[in-house]
């Protein structure tokens, strides 16, 4: 699976969880709203119901009071109770619009109450008012009274009313309690669910971050390792990757690149070796017939005895050519040998080395080699530096056209490199030759003018490059020439394995 897919999936899941939690809370809050309305309705119904009950009792009590006392002001509570009853009944009907069962009870209540009022309370009160009008009225009252109290018709109706109001109260109280209970349960469930999901989302988020981070980090680290290995010239390492994502293709690319680098490098190394081997074999094989020619020329010279100066001259010219060929071949051999053998490092004073070189070059009286006055300790392959300096200094003298030839050498430590300059006051080198002089067999003047193989500077350049230094030439015709090269601080020569 691709990494980006993994990230999308995990973030998507987390978002989904939070959406779910939010929706759950929204639904819950709606539920609570509705439930609270219901509970409030029930409470109101209970209240109104109890008011209704009280009104009925008031009406009953008013009627009784009047019947006992016969005083007109005692009948007031009865009227108030009846009015109150009507109001409360109305309220209750409205409140119970959505509760057909309660409406049924209310109808029952109303029927009983009307029955009680119309056939018991109202006639009784009327009869009581007229009780003193005559025995007929008295008789009527007694009949009614008997009917109400002895036969308990009034009580029966009031009890019926009570029964129904109690029923409503009971139903509503139960309803209220159930609602509150349900609300609590659902609230608890929502809380639990939300908490659980949130914890889950957080865990998934952290796990994804950790897991992805860890694997990505691990793989990037191994790639980094490969890259730094490549940079250090170690092409052996391979990345193994069993995932199939963006990093895998990167790993595969890096592996391919490492392989290519390794191949190219192996090829380069082989090529280099081949070149050196070739130069070595060629020059080695050429030396045998050359030696024979030299010997034969020598024998001819000895054997012919007295002869013309012409022949002597030609013989000596010939041996000169043989000598030159030998020099060339030796030069090629020396060139091909650079880097083929391990050379020991030693610590020495550059000034002393330059003194040795001066002595070995044996400058003519009109030639001067100026060397630094300060000692400079160098730790390096002495033979290689010597070879470079001998070539540069002898070039400076050999090609010098001034009556007083001067070659001056200076050296300084510059960061991680020695910077060494060899300057002469010779004829200078035209800019178009500045590159060419470092090639094999390149000389500026015709070969016959000065005996030179033209391989010296090629050797110098190869040695310096082998040491990972660099050489440059600054010169203009008539201005003398300065060769400057860097020589890294005691860094062993990298050897091409033979």
């Amino acid at each position: 699976m691709k990494i980006i897919t993994k990230i999308y999936l995990s973030i998507g899941f987390i978002l989904l969880v939070f959406v779910f939690v939010t929706v759950a809370y929204f639904i819950q809050s709606n539920k609570v709203d509705n439930a609270i309305d219901e509970v409030l309705l029930s409470t109101e119904i209970i209240q109104a119901n109890s008011n209704l009950q009280k009104a009925v009792l008031d009406a009953q009590a008013g009627m009784r009071g009047y019947l006992l006392s016969g005083k007109e002001n005692y009948v007031e509570p009865y009227y108030a109770g009846v009015a109150e009853y009507l109001i409360e009944l109305n309220i209750l009907r409205k409140l119970n619009q959505s509760k057909p069962a309660n409406i049924g009870y209310l109808n029952q209540i109303d029927q009983q109450f009307n029955n009680w009022n119309d056939s018991i309370a109202s006639p009784l009160i009327e009869a009581k008012r007229n009780v003193n009008a005559g025995p007929k009225a008295q008789q009527e009252y007694n009949r009614l009274y008997y009917k109400t109290y002895t036969r308990e018709e009034g009580k029966t109706r009031i009890d019926r009313i009570r029964y129904f109001t109690d029923l409503i109260e009971k139903v509503e109280t139960r309803n209220k309690k159930a609602l509150v209970g349900k609300l609590k349960t659902s609230q608890n469930l929502t809380d639990l669910l939300s908490l659980g999901l949130t914890v889950l989302a957080v865990i998934i988020g952290i796990a994804t971050a950790l897991l992805l981070g860890k694997t990505i980090k691990k793989r990037i680290l191994s790639m980094q390792k490969l890259a730094s290995n490549l940079a250090r010239g170690n092409f052996e390492m391979k990345l193994t990757d069993h995932d199939h994502d963006e990093l895998s293709s990167l790993s595969a690319d890096m592996n391919v690149m490492a392989q290519k680098l390794q191949n190219s490098f192996a090829h380069l190394k082989k090529m280099n070796q081949e070149l050196d081997q070739f130069a070595y074999v060629v020059s080695h094989d050429l030396k045998a017939p050359l030696r024979a020619i030299n010997n034969l020329a020598e024998w001819i010279d000895e054997d012919i005895g007295e002869t013309t100066p012409e022949i002597r001259k030609n013989l000596s010219l010939m041996r000169g050519r043989v000598h030159r060929l030998e020099n060339l071949i030796n030069g090629i051999l020396a060139y091909s040998r650079i880097g083929r053998t391990k050379i020991e490092q030693n610590t020495f004073d550059l000034r002393e080395l330059l003194q040795e070189i001066t002595e070995s070059l044996a400058p003519l009286p009109n030639q001067k080699i100026i060397i630094p006055t300060e000692p400079l300790q160098i730790q390096t392959e002495k033979i290689l530096l010597q070879q470079v300096l001998v070539n540069l200094i002898s070039n400076g003298l050999k090609y010098n056209n001034k009556p007083n030839a001067e070659v001056s050498v200076s050296a300084e430590l510059n960061g991680k490199n020695y910077l060494i300059r060899v300057a002469d006051n010779g004829p200078g080198i035209p800019p178009e030759y500045h590159e060419k002089i470092f090639g094999v067999f390149q000389t500026i003047e015709a070969r016959d003018t000065i005996e030179s193989t033209g391989i010296g500077l090629a050797i110098v350049k190869k040695i310096i490059e082998e040491k990972h230094g660099a050489i440059r030439v600054d010169s203009e015709p008539g201005q003398g020439t300065t060769f400057s090269f860097t020589w890294p601080l005691s860094q062993p020569v990298v050897l091409a394995p033979i």
């Binding site: 690149m257 090529m271 074999v281 017939p289 034969l296 024998w299 030609n314 043989v322 070969r447």
Partner: protein, 243 residues
Amino acid sequence: MNEDALAQCQNELSQEKKQFEEFIYLVSHDLNAPIRAISNLSVWIAEDLGNDIPADVKQHINLLQARTQLLERMLGAILTLSRVARTDLEIGYVELLPFLEKLSNPFRKEQVSVSIQIRSVVPGLITYYQKLQTVLSELITNAILHTDKEKVNIAVVVTQTGEFLKFEIIDNGPGLPADVSERIFSLFYTAKGKEGNQNIGAGLTIAKKIANFVGGQLAVDIPPEGLGCSFVLYWPRKEPEKV
């Protein structure tokens, strides 16, 4: 950094290659001048000395001239090697049977005892025909050069294996000891000394270099001692791309 390194590496490689060719070319050219001089001087000295000179001097001069010629030929071989990638790059159709016959004829005429049998199951191919000719000529020359028989029998058999044509050059010569099967391809290696014969030990080197250049292979099969040699040349059938 890696792509840079790769590019740099490949750049270095091609530069190294170029340097290699240039180096060899320069070497052989620069060495050639003094050899020419020696050769000329030896001729002049011989002329100046005239005819009435001691026999040993005469012999020494002859030897000296022979050595000079040897050196010249060696340098010539180095030069040829360095030019493999630059010369004889013409591409053309080769009808194998007539091509091989034409190639063999000079050898047959030169030495009566040379018999060359040609068999080919492949009609022809488009390739560097001059290079193919050089390689096959070198291999036939080599077979004739090293024979120990009165009558030289050479068979050239062409078959096809996958992407390559397989040329087998089989002779009835003395064969080769197994331990030199690689060395015979190195430059200036000769089975006998260089003194007596004209061979300087470059022909097989050049043949192998050409085979490698065209993308083929050249190797030698070592049969049991005394059964002759069989050189196997794999030559790509694919038409080379024009440079």
